[in-house]
């Protein structure tokens, strides 16, 4: 992978970019791992309601040291706090929020995203691996908008945005937008439309790092 002259976003910068697209009043589920970072970049003047599968709505930042409560954790099993106006509920109601279309946006990590919006993020299909799915499939089918946040390529430089999935699917046609360290892509009926690229990136370079045909929509 030959970096010419473009800037690669850090994980925090991808999170910061994605955070800008979350509107006031949105009900949002941030997937375990990278997407969780978005919480740090949500502007204070907006009310964004964070949902966690294990029965929290409107939870807040991590507690101060020594204030951790083992019974107040998010789906990533990290300690959190509650905002005034938050609520607790059981797993049935929590997944009703997700599957019933009440969550406005979920942001998920990905192994692969296909040109048609298929998402793979729960299994690499390795035969000796223990499968584990958690709530990923429920978020993929349930949220009004599914955002993916991922590095543009794997550590070994293979594309993660592909024409068709080679890994097992999490949800069909579910992804609406992809935030990578190189660009922002909208999944549209016409294909993958690149709306933003990092400084110094050319569309041709980006296409070369991608396993599916891109549309230049940066203008």
């Amino acid at each position: 992978m030959s970096h010419t002259s473009y800037t690669v976003l850090t994980r925090d910068q991808i999170a910061e970019r994605a955070a800008q697209d979350i509107p006031d009043g949105a009900y949002v589920n941030l997937g375990i791992g990278l997407p969780t970072k978005i919480a740090q970049y949500l502007p204070d003047d907006k009310d964004v309601f964070l949902h966690s599968e294990n029965g929290l709505l409107a939870f807040g930042p991590p507690p101060a040291k020594g204030e951790e409560d083992p019974e107040l954790i998010n789906a990533g099993k990290e300690y959190v706090t509650m905002l005034d106006g938050g609520s607790f509920f059981h797993h049935g109601d929590s997944f009703a929020m997700m599957r019933g279309g009440h969550i406005d946006i979920c942001v998920l990590g990905a192994f692969q995203v296909a040109a048609n919006g298929d998402l793979a993020n729960w299994s690499t299909g390795a035969t000796d691996a223990i499968p584990a799915v958690g709530g990923a499939m429920d978020l993929a089918v349930g949220a009004k908008k599914v955002f993916v946040m991922t590095n543009h390529t794997t550590k070994t430089g293979d594309p993660k945005i592909v024409s068709e999935l080679t890994y097992p699917v999490t949800g069909k046609n579910c992804v609406d937008r992809i935030y990578t360290d190189l660009c922002v892509i909208d999944v549209t009926d016409k294909g993958l439309a690149v709306t933003e690229m990092v400084d110094g990136m050319s569309f041709a370079d980006l296409q070369a790092l991608t396993g599916a045909t891109l549309i230049d929509a940066t203008k």
């Binding site: 006031d24 009043g25 009900y27 003047d45 907006k46 009310d47 309601f49 949902h51 709505l57 409107a58 509650m82 005034d84 106006g85 938050g86 609520s87 607790f88 509920f89 049935g92 109601d93 997944f95 009703a96 929020m97 997700m98 599957r99 019933g100 279309g101 009440h102 969550i103 349930g142």
Partner: protein, 240 residues
């Protein structure tokens, strides 16, 4: 900053258009959102489909709405009551359509909509007139009827207290259909006796989390029940 409690009844209800499907909370008069129904009558929309447990009592509330001729169809479990003369007359005159649903199927179909299910096999009604023409299945030694979700454009419900994020608590048996209807409608409008500050509702005690509620409208206490023996929380008026 989100404030779901900043509009008047008139403003909130103005988004309801002719032909809307509307869930209305309440079991008898307990939990019936009387002021929202009055607002709906004043709005003058027509061709409505109403989902409620009953079909109105006396000449007020839901019965009054029916009387205006605004309702094309009602989906309910128990229309016939000693004081349901408004519905009775419309029904016998062929001026209103009735879909009769066993109460548990009504609740369950509303829940199925809120949960995002495609359909459910329910035990109730198998072998009866109310399952005629419906798909059935024998599962694990028992018979079931396939029933589909009941969704709505709007839910009009009554709660006891609400905050500006839409969190609600109810009072006694006025809870009934409110929480499940709030989950099954695109837009839920809750009338409350009291609007409280964010944080006043204990997160352990919230019955309907704000995600299910789009608007909260405070009704002047004088117009509802006499002062009630509410639980201990401080009853400051909200700034929200």
């Amino acid at each position: 900053m989100i404030n779901k409690a900043d509009k008047s009844i008139t403003d909130v209800l103005s988004q309801i258009k002719d032909g809307a499907t509307i869930m209305i909370g309440g079991f008898g008069t307990a939990g019936q959102p009387a002021e929202l129904i009055d607002g709906l009558i004043n709005l003058g929309v027509k061709d409505l489909v109403i989902i409620n447990n009953n079909a109105g009592n006396g000449d007020h509330g839901l019965a009054k709405l029916l009387k205006t001729g605004a309702v094309r169809k009602i989906i309910c479990s128990f229309p016939r009551q000693s004081d349901s003369w408004v519905f009775d007359e419309l029904y016998h005159a062929g001026k209103i359509e009735l879909e009769l649903v066993p109460q548990g199927n009504l609740a369950c179909r509303i829940q199925a909509a809120g949960m995002g299910l495609g359909a459910v096999y329910t035990p109730t009604g198998f072998g009866t007139l109310l399952a005629e023409g419906k798909e059935t299945r024998h599962i694990d030694g028992k018979d079931y009827v396939l029933e589909y979700p009941l969704k709505a454009d709007f839910a009009l419900i009554k709660a006891s207290k609400g905050d500006r994020w839409g969190n609600l608590v109810y009072r006694k048996s006025a809870r009934n259909f409110g929480p499940i209807m709030a989950m099954a409608a695109d837009v839920t409008i809750a009338q409350v006796s009291e609007t409280v500050d964010l944080g006043e509702l204990d997160p352990e005690h919230v019955i309907t989390p704000g995600i299910f509620v789009q608007h909260v409208v405070q009704i002047q206490p004088a117009s509802t029940e006499p002062a009630s023996d509410e639980s201990a929380s401080t009853a400051t008026t909200a700034t929200a």
